[in-house]
Amino acid sequence: MAKYGDKDDSVVVIIGSGAGGGTLANELCQKGINVVVLEAGGRESPETFIQDEWKSFGQLAWLDKRTTSGSWRIAHDFPNLPAWICKTVGGTTTHWAGASLRFQEHEFKARTSYGDVPGSNLLDWPISLADIEPYYARAEAKMGVTRTNGIPGLPGNNNFKIMYSGATKIGYKEVSTGRMAINSVARDGRSPCIQQGFCFQGCKSAAKWSTLYTEIPRAEATGRLDLRPRCQAARIEHDRRGRVNAVVYFDQDGKERRQAARAVCVAGNSIETPRLLLLSESSRFKDGLANGSGQVGRNYMRHTTGSVYAVFDKPVHMYRGTTMAGIVQDEAGHDAGRGFAGGYELETISLGLSFYAAFLDPGAWGADFASYMDDYARTAGLWIVGEDLPQETNRITLNAEVKDTFGLPVANVHYDDHPNDRAMRDHAYRQSSALYEAAGARRTFHTPPYPSTHNLGTCRMSLKAEDGVCDRHGQAHEVPNLFISDGSQFTTSAAENPTLTIVSLAIRQAEAIADRMSRKEL
């Protein structure tokens, strides 16, 4: 593994090691570029992952304080936990369930497709599906996505059998175990899935793709990666020309350090990425780095979600096998006749007993709640994931009242549901209940959204500088050697789980960075 000096300004500094940062690091290293990765979390491994929901949460989740506001129920139920994302090497690719879906063509043109939806800040992406398709193909090959590259689909578990039965009975056609970045057969030096469950807790058999044991060790093997765990970025600095030249961070001993940089790529997920830019205000960038448009932190999206759990007369054991075992895609398209813009996917989900109790209906108690717990072993579940609309007022800001352990203001996450989000969620709840009733459910329960796992859009890409923060390659409009390298750059959320698109954009961005370097622009 490489070790670069703090004053070595030949390195590209990447902040974060998840789907965006971890992939970008490997892609750059493979091209012969020297990289320093600053990762706020520590380094775990499949051996150290814990199959216990609360203990794993303590090991992997980002637990540093955040605050919330807005009318979303999260602000009431989990005021200091707006998001369920990770602080560990590999980032949230340790926790994700593996669903790897391409966005649809119309979703890259959301403003054109959906029109002027009042209250939204919709915008077309500056790239099209055709632009990203070659990178989707490379990402799928890299991640070993099932049902691509000749890789068989995964076998469905009990939870999927119920989904399939109900979905097909109510007329859905696109129902399968889906495209998953989980090995159905041995591939790429990793073993096939043995259906453990606990996908959310870090895959102990490493069958599920994570940058922790794919991209990062490969980058290290080039001798060009200097990965620094437990290093929390605090501020990005710039020179007199307005080009970034260093990242100030706190190392594992809490000591402040300053790493020089040729370019900086921010991939801290969509809460920390804008927070870092806002913390990097200067006399030149008074409202935060690269924030001349005022869009840094705005248009925060978290997908329209919710879960439906259904109780049957006979055993289900939904927790056995992959957590996201199957998908219904019939509602994923755009059909204004349903009364909302955009679409949604239905994906099986399961929680262990401990998290089922915590998340089924936060704050609830009494005989009705207890009866759902009594029926746990006869319960099936699915998760709704749909497009939510960007709104300028849904945003990440700095909370000057609350400081982290380094004395820096924490992020406040403000979110109000748009009427479109509520209409979509209600539709999805109804369809899901119908699906389960068709499969024989005795009763169904509509669970509110969990703390957000998909956090998107807070430094969005745009054709015009005044509409967003970065361009079609994630390069900041105002700062030519600053890149946004995670889901923050999403212009809109689309209906699909975001990881495949984050990885594809990272591969594409690595090419752009290498190209600019070879042309001496960086």
Binding site: D52, F57, G156, H317, R320, A357, M373
Partner: protein
């Protein structure tokens, strides 16, 4: 939301502390019971008899909290040994003076609302009293703690039919991940057969 980490399976059943404890750690037995013979939990526990020692709470307070947990999350067949974990966790949290004050005055408030003795009130009256105090910080503290104390332990896993960690057992690939037989199997195109494990 705060994680409460329970102990290893065998120690999940409250038990008497024996000998060699330093004096200040010594508590008083405030709750005790016997797991019904022939039940799943009796098979799991090292001993059918259990007892809970408390360092801060007295017997009356412990009994009040145990009943509160039972009324909040009523499971007819769930033994007191599981609800006693709530009492154990609250007793430990009471080492913090502010929590102790909250809990002590909260229990007094339960008694006051019950006209003197909360524990002696009939179950419906107890539930109605709880409904009337759901905005109370004491109520919220106990309710929130119940979620982890009652449901995040090995006895609860067994009782509610959750199997816990699977790595040591090789996952479910050969142990029933797709054993549901009361619905037809999906076609192979939707759900291919598992790899030949």
């Amino acid at each position: 939301m705060k994680a409460t980490i329970d102990e290893a399976p065998a120690s999940a059943v409250p038990r008497i502390r024996r000998g060699s404890r330093r004096e200040f750690l010594k508590g008083t037995i405030v709750l005790a019971g016997t797991l019904s013979a022939g039940t799943l939990l009796a098979a799991l526990a090292p001993s059918r008899t259990w007892a809970l020692e408390a360092r801060v709470l007295d017997q009356k307070q412990a009994q009040a909290l145990l009943l509160m947990a039972r009324r909040l999350y009523p499971h007819k067949d769930l033994p007191d040994a599981v609800y006693a974990l709530l009492v154990k966790d609250i007793d430990e949290a009471c080492s913090d003076a502010a929590v102790r004050e909250l809990v002590f005055t909260g229990i007094e408030s339960l008694d006051r609302r019950a006209g003197g003795n909360w524990a002696a009130a009939d179950p419906q009256r107890q539930t109605a009293i709880l409904e009337g105090m759901s905005a109370d910080p004491f109520f919220q503290k106990i309710r929130g703690q119940c979620i982890t104390s009652i449901y995040d332990n090995q006895m609860a896993y067994k009782h509610f039919g959750y199997e816990g960690e699977t790595w040591s057992k090789g996952g479910y690939i050969k142990r029933g991940f797709n054993d549901l037989s009361w619905l037809p199997d999906p076609p192979a195109a939707a759900s291919p057969p598992p790899f030949d494990a």
